[in-house]
Amino acid sequence: TQLLEQSPQFLSIQEGENLTVYCNSSSVFSSLQWYRQEPGEGPVLLVTVVTGGEVKKLKRLTFQFGDARKDSSLHITAAQPGDTGLYLCAGALDDFNKFYFGSGTKLNVKP
């Protein structure tokens, strides 16, 4: 079993719809990150959250870190085809250089 569980695994929606991706664990993380990965490339960092209850916004993307620092969510408003990709959450425990990744959510936004 993985330390971080992501849901849903797959999501196919129409352009303009809203969506939320979840990242859950029973462990407490010192920081949690969200990455986006395109086919054939490495992941690229979207955001880092470090404080319980923290909310960060990046244009149409809203990231939230749970109060207990065990879970996080990524909400996309008015999804666009350019949002298509694999979204990964990653958390660090005591060693801030040792990251555990979730299994990812594959998002497809249809025009």
């Binding site: 993985q2 992501q6 990150q33 054939g40 490339e41 801030f96 250089n97 990744f101 299994s103």
Partner: protein, 115 residues
Amino acid sequence: IAGITQAPTSQILAAGRRMTLRCTQDMRHNAMYWYRQDLGLGLRLIHYSNTAGTTGKGEVPDGYSVSRANTDDFPLTLASAVPSQTSVYFCASSDGTASGGVEQFFGPGTRLTVL
């Protein structure tokens, strides 16, 4: 600035052979990492290094070894490859100095097939 380079881009290897995947970064980052990515499992940390001269085990270190002789290079060696090591391997680096919230920069990956 190239960032992180990995070599080879892809490789087909016979089981039992020894293989070294190369990773070089030019950002003078302290920390480097090796991950493998398998369908449905996300990325799993194999080994990491907080600074030159030190290494640590990740989630799935068995069958792999690493060395960190200098800041820029972090090779990953499969001493005797097995089919279950078929995967896409990503190298990453970060400045590794911030407590919580370091940004990892990833290389383009090496696709390895062990037959």
